[in-house]
C-alpha cells in the first residue's frame, strides 16, 4: 500500500521529497482520524487524503511566485529517459483534477466509482476529466515527437 501511494505521489507531485512529504502527511492524518472505526475501503481513503493534501499544497503555492526547476534538456539521454520526461512533462500540462483522475485510473488501477468517491464528484465528471486528460496528454506526447504521424 505505501509503495503504491509513493508512486501516485511521485507522479502527482514530481519532486521525490515533496512526494514523500505528502505520503507522510497522509499516513499521519489517517492514523489520527476516527474514521478508521467506520470501516470502508482504507486504500481509497488514503488516496483521497493524499489527493486533497496535494490540492491544498498547490493552492498555497499558486499564491506565491515560484521558480520552476528547469527540465533538463539533454539530447544525449537514452530513449527511455527521454520518454520518461515526455510523460512527466505531459502530466504537468494537466490541471490538477485531470492529472489526479488520469493517474488514479491508469497508474493506480482504481475503478471509476472509486475515483468518483475520492474526488467527491459524479462518475460522469470523472469520465469527462479522464477524456480530457487523455486528449491533452496525447497531444502533448505527439507534439514532442514530430516523427510520429500527426493527427489533425
Amino acid at each position: 500500500m505505501i509503495p503504491a501511494l509513493r508512486r501516485y505521489a511521485r507522479a502527482l507531485a514530481r519532486d521525490a521529497d515533496i512526494a514523500d512529504d505528502l505520503v507522510q502527511d497522509t499516513l499521519v492524518r489517517a492514523l489520527r482520524s476516527e474514521k478508521l472505526f467506520l470501516g470502508g475501503d482504507v486504500r481509497s481513503w488514503l488516496y483521497t487524503i493524499l489527493t486533497n493534501l496535494n490540492k491544498n499544497r498547490r493552492r498555497s503555492l499558486a499564491r506565491r511566485p515560484q521558480f520552476m526547476p528547469l527540465l533538463e534538456n539533454n539530447p544525449d539521454a537514452s530513449g527511455t529517459e527521454a520518454e520518461g520526461r515526455d510523460i512527466a512533462r505531459a502530466l504537468s500540462t494537466l490541471v490538477e483534477e485531470q492529472r489526479a483522475v488520469l493517474l488514479l485510473v491508469m497508474l493506480e488501477g482504481l475503478s471509476y466509482r472509486e475515483v468518483a468517491d475520492i474526488q467527491g464528484v459524479p462518475i460522469g465528471t470523472v469520465m469527462s476529466r479522464l477524456a480530457r486528460a487523455r486528449a491533452h496528454v496525447k497531444a502533448s506526447l505527439e507534439g514532442e515527437r514530430p516523427a510520429l504521424r500527426r493527427v489533425k
Binding site: F37, G84, I87, A131, K138
Partner: protein, 260 residues
C-alpha cells in the same frame, strides 16, 4: 442482447480500455474499432500512454520504503488503539504481498475469550438498560463513593468518565461478576433516554485494537488496554458509538492504572 448498430460512444471507448465496460458490449466495441481507424488509433495511444506511465513510475513501488514512512515511527503512544486498526491493515496488506484489502471486520488480534468478554458485557447491557426503577446500585450523584467502592472491589482505579460532551450523564453503577474477577459496570443516559454502558474487567489480552460488533439492536465497541478490557455498549449506530467510546478511552488514558 446488445444491438451492434448502436454506435459506440466516447465513454465506451474509455471504459473499454479501463475494463469498465459490461462484458456483452466488448465485442461491439471491438467490431467498431475494426471499422473506425481514428478511434482505434486513439485507443491504441491510450494503451501506449498507460505503458509510458508504468514505465516511468512503477520503479517507485520497488524502492525500499524510506525510514520516515515506517509505520512504527508514525504511530505514537499512548494512542495505540486509535492507530491500531489502520496500522494493522496496512501492515497486513504489506505482509500479504499487496493483494486485496482486509475489511475492517477482519482485523483480528483477540482470542475467543475476548468475544465471550464482550458477550458478557452486552448481556449485562441488555439486562439493565431496560430497568426503570433499579438500573444501577449506586446513583451517579454519589460519584466519589461509586468510584471508591468499585476501585476497592475490582482492584484497578475505576473512574466514571465525564460524557457530558456527548450529551450523556451518569446514571450510576454496579458491580458484576466478570470472567476472572469482579467487573465494574457504569450506565449513562441522554436527555432523550438513550442509554450507554461501560463495562470493565481484567482481560486475558494485554492491549488490542478497538473492535465493533452488533447484536440485534445493540452495538458494542471493545478494546483492551494494559490488561483491562473495556466494552462500551449502546446504539448500533457506529458513528455515535465510536464518538462515545473515544471519550471513554481518552479519559481512561488519563487515569492511573494500578499495577498493569
Amino acid at each position: 442482447m446488445t444491438d451492434r448498430n448502436i454506435p459506440v460512444t466516447e465513454d465506451e471507448l474509455h471504459a473499454y480500455v479501463d475494463n469498465e465496460l459490461p462484458a456483452e458490449r466488448r465485442s461491439d466495441v471491438e467490431a467498431w474499432l475494426a471499422t473506425h481507424p481514428d478511434d482505434a488509433e486513439r485507443v491504441q495511444s491510450w494503451r501506449a500512454m498507460a505503458e509510458a506511465l508504468h514505465a516511468r513510475y512503477d520503479s517507485v513501488v520497488n524502492e525500499p520504503v524510506p525510514k520516515r514512512l515506517e509505520l512504527e515511527r508514525l504511530v505514537q503512544q499512548p494512542r495505540r488503539w486509535l492507530y491500531g486498526a489502520v496500522a494493522a491493515s496496512l501492515l497486513a496488506f504489506a505482509a500479504g504481498g499487496g493483494t486485496g484489502w482486509l475489511a475492517h471486520g477482519a482485523i483480528t488480534a483477540s482470542p475467543s475469550s475476548f468475544q465471550m468478554f464482550t458477550d458478557d458485557a452486552l448481556d449485562a447491557h441488555r439486562l439493565y438498560v431496560v430497568e426503570v426503577r433499579h438500573p444501577v446500585e449506586v446513583p451517579g450523584n454519589e460519584r466519589a463513593h461509586l468510584q471508591a467502592w468499585l476501585t476497592k472491589r475490582c482492584g484497578w482505579t475505576v473512574r466514571a468518565p465525564e460524557l457530558d460532551a456527548t450529551g450523556l450523564k451518569l446514571v450510576g453503577g454496579r458491580l458484576l461478576p466478570g470472567p476472572t474477577g469482579p467487573a465494574s459496570f457504569l450506565m449513562y443516559e441522554s436527555a432523550s433516554g438513550e442509554r450507554f454502558t461501560v463495562y470493565t474487567a481484567k482481560a486475558a489480552t494485554e492491549t488490542t485494537q478497538m473492535r465493533f460488533t452488533t447484536q440485534d439492536k445493540n452495538g458494542a465497541m471493545f478494546w483492551a488496554d494494559r490488561g483491562v478490557g473495556y466494552v462500551v455498549s449502546g446504539t448500533s449506530d457506529r458513528e455515535r458509538l465510536a464518538q462515545v467510546a473515544r471519550l471513554v478511552y481518552d479519559q481512561a488514558d488519563k487515569g492511573e492504572k494500578s499495577g498493569g
